[in-house]
């Protein structure tokens, strides 16, 4: 534990020092954590300079685990995570930490089949493919969902992420919610014990592997699939409709998901008619009681701006913005931050 603390401190010191060297006059607010929202956060921070030139944000995308550790040891002013913090970690933090949801993303199922037919899949089938129970592409369960599609008799080769990631968390969360067997055998986490398949590093690794190897099936972020023109499957949601993953169907998922007061929620498989079922949120982590009142004030101003104006920038980077009802609730929560 000591070394991790030292590393965290060193990283924090580095962040702080690096900031001060460049900062000069503007105040510097440091954050660290999740890699998934890094592009949109960078965009926000760059845009926010125009709104308030007296403050600069420095965000290091070191991963959700690192983000949680650093905010818990107070080496950064805010943390960021792709998964909600556990009760255990929340209890260890020196103060009350708030989860502020920012944007959502979807995970899509991509595959490599001759002619790239548009596939339709349902949760139970996807779970059994990733469990290694369905092993051939022309299995009757896939065929019955896709009448008319020509499916080869080849082996299905599963490709999953080898690095710990929020994408895997969302995907395994979904599989756990649709399959009892998955929930009891594998479970949900940023990395799990995969029953079958090849591990590839990052979205680009999974996409590369699926593109090259005929008969593969894998999962990547929606943004990644869009930018790389990968084929992806329509999924049957909990109301029985087949939904194409789009930003709208993700925002729809957010709007209909049950979201608790502390915003630590999972939004997979929500009830909405038009909701795409594999979607997840990413959070900023901030203390309810800010130690530095000047920094706290600037941080709250930024969070308000992010909710009101920043959300509008999300879709240009393939992130789904929060629906209005959730955004209002988040704004109310931001008001409770004391500084």
């Amino acid at each position: 534990m000591k070394l991790t603390k030292i590393l965290a401190l060193a990283a924090g010191a580095f962040v702080a020092l690096g900031g001060q060297l460049h900062a000069g006059d503007p105040m510097l607010i440091n954050g660290a954590g999740a890699t998934f929202p890094f592009p949109i956060y960078s965009k926000w921070f760059a845009e926010y300079i125009k709104v308030d030139p007296s403050v600069r944000f420095n965000y290091q995308s070191i991963g959700s685990g690192g983000g949680q550790k650093q905010i818990m040891s107070e080496t950064v002013d805010f943390g960021a995570s792709d998964g909600p913090m556990s009760d255990e970690n929340l209890a260890k933090a020196p103060g009350k930490l708030l989860h502020i949801p920012t944007v959502a993303g979807a995970v899509v199922i991509t595959y490599n089949l001759p002619g790239s037919p548009k596939l339709k899949l349902d949760g139970a089938t996807v779970a059994d493919i990733f469990l290694g129970k369905i092993t051939k592409w022309n299995d009757s369960r896939i065929a019955s969902l896709n009448p008319g599609a020509s499916l080869p008799g080849d082996d299905i080769i599963v490709v999953h992420r080898s690095d710990g990631s929020g994408t895997s968390y969302i995907f395994t969360d979904y599989l756990s919610s649709v399959s009892k067997a998955w929930e009891s055998k594998v479970g949900k986490a940023t990395s799990v014990k995969w029953p079958t398949g090849l591990g590839a590093k990052g979205n680009e690794g999974v996409a590369g592997q699926v593109k090259q190897l005929p008969g593969t099936i894998g999962y990547v972020e929606l943004a990644y699939a869009h930018q790389n023109h990968l084929p992806f499957a329509d999924l049957k949601n909990s109301s029985g409709h087949f939904i194409t993953p789009t930003l709208d169907s993700v925002t729809e998922a957010l709007a209909t998901a049950k979201i608790p007061e502390d915003f630590r929620f999972s939004m997979v498989n929500p009830p909405g008619d038009k909701a795409y079922p594999i979607a997840g949120c990413t959070w900023l982590l901030v203390y309810e009681k800010q130690k530095d009142s000047a920094k706290g004030e600037k941080l709250v101003q930024f969070l308000n701006w992010a909710m009101k104006s920043g959300e509008g920038l999300a879709s240009s980077l393939d992130y789904a913005p929060l629906p209005d009802n959730l955004r209002d609730r988040v704004l109310k929560r931001i008001k409770t931050i004391q500084y």
Binding site: M1, L3, G63, G65, S162, G164, G187, S191, K193, Q209
Partner: protein, 325 residues
């Protein structure tokens, strides 16, 4: 080196100069000792911190950690065996491919190549050492693995498929692909060190062999390689050290599946890769400690392999010959 510090070597010096020289020698000796100790202390400290960082996991799993094949972050059961296996096997494949190639090219560069060719070729080999491993990894995914999958592996399977080593489905990413990329990474190191060692074989050795009527091959074999074998072995160990700890390029082509399979076409996983892959998103204490313990195991494996190599070196015999640089 031991001879240079031996007082008998300076015995013929006049007394005044001798004490002055001795003082300088002393200071130099202590200075170098300090440097050498710093490396030693660094390794001890790394070992200590790794052990300290993995206390929870050490306590919970004990020796079982080394023999268990379970790696399940959800139920928090951790074992390192498939990763140890993957690390050793991928490095072994790398050595099997890289050692003959490297030593042959070192021999060519020093003994056989025309003079105008030596310098450019050497520069190219050293350039290969400067390619960052992530670049090699990307090249591995997009160029090497597809080629292996469509050309080399099917050929191996059809000609050597009766061996369990070359059975089973071909995915491209595999233990063998990991070994091949490692071989590419360690060839420059082994080649350049071997080249220096072969260059430092005294010319008299060669001339004596020629005088006895030996052919070029015989001169190379008897006068050069046999004379330099200890040094060459050292070069191989340097390469092995890099292979054991290499991370990025390997993880991109090895398939990242914690499994012990007889077939080299099956995916594998290495100690260094799993730490690099999972460390950033590990949030629970026991998980982090288990990852730290993998680091400790890797350090242990490296030390053990090196110790074994030293033992093997002792049995080799032959004169001790080192690079002049």
């Amino acid at each position: 080196m031991a001879n240079a510090l031996n007082p008998s070597a300076t015995a013929s010096q006049p007394p005044a100069a001798m004490t002055r020289r001795k003082l300088g020698d002393r200071a130099f000796e202590y200075l170098t000792l300090l440097m050498a100790l710093a490396v030693f202390i660094l390794i001890i400290l790394i070992g200590y911190e790794l052990a300290h960082g993995s206390t929870l996991s050490l306590k919970k799993f004990g020796w079982h950690f080394l023999v268990s094949s379970d790696w399940d972050p959800v139920s928090e059961e951790f074992g390192a065996l498939p990763f140890i296996f993957g690390t050793l096997v991928s490095s072994a494949i790398a050595l099997i491919i890289a050692v003959p190639l490297s030593i042959a090219s070192a021999v060519f560069l020093t003994e056989l190549a025309p003079r105008w060719m030596r310098q450019p070729l050497t520069i190219f080999i050293e350039l290969l050492a400067a390619v960052p491993s992530v670049i090699l990894g990307l090249w591995g995914i997009f160029v090497m693995v597809p080629w292996l999958r469509t050309h080399l592996f099917p050929w191996l399977k059809s000609s050597l498929g009766f061996l369990p080593l070359f059975k089973g489905p071909i995915y491209g990413v595999s233990m063998l692909a990991g070994g091949i990329i490692l071989a590419i990474m360690i060839i420059p190191i082994i080649t350049s060190v071997s080249r220096e060692i072969i260059r430092s074989v005294p010319g008299l050795q060669r001339e004596a062999a020629y005088a006895l009527g030996a052919t070029r091959w015989e001169v190379t074999r008897i006068a050069v390689l046999s004379y330099a074998k200890k040094g060459l072995f050292g070069a191989v160990i340097l390469g092995l050290g890099r292979a054991l700890g290499e991370t990025m390029a390997v993880t991109m082509v090895i398939g990242n599946r914690p499994e012990i399979a007889a077939s080299l076409f099956a995916p594998g996983y290495t100690l260094a890769s799993v730490v690099a892959n999972e460390f950033t998103e590990a949030t629970t204490d026991i998980y982090l400690h288990a990852l730290f313990e993998l680091g400790l195991v890797l350090l242990g494996v490296t030390v053990l392999v090196n110790a074994l190599a030293q033992l093997l070196l002792k049995t080799l015999g032959g004169p001790e010959i080192k690079s002049q640089h």
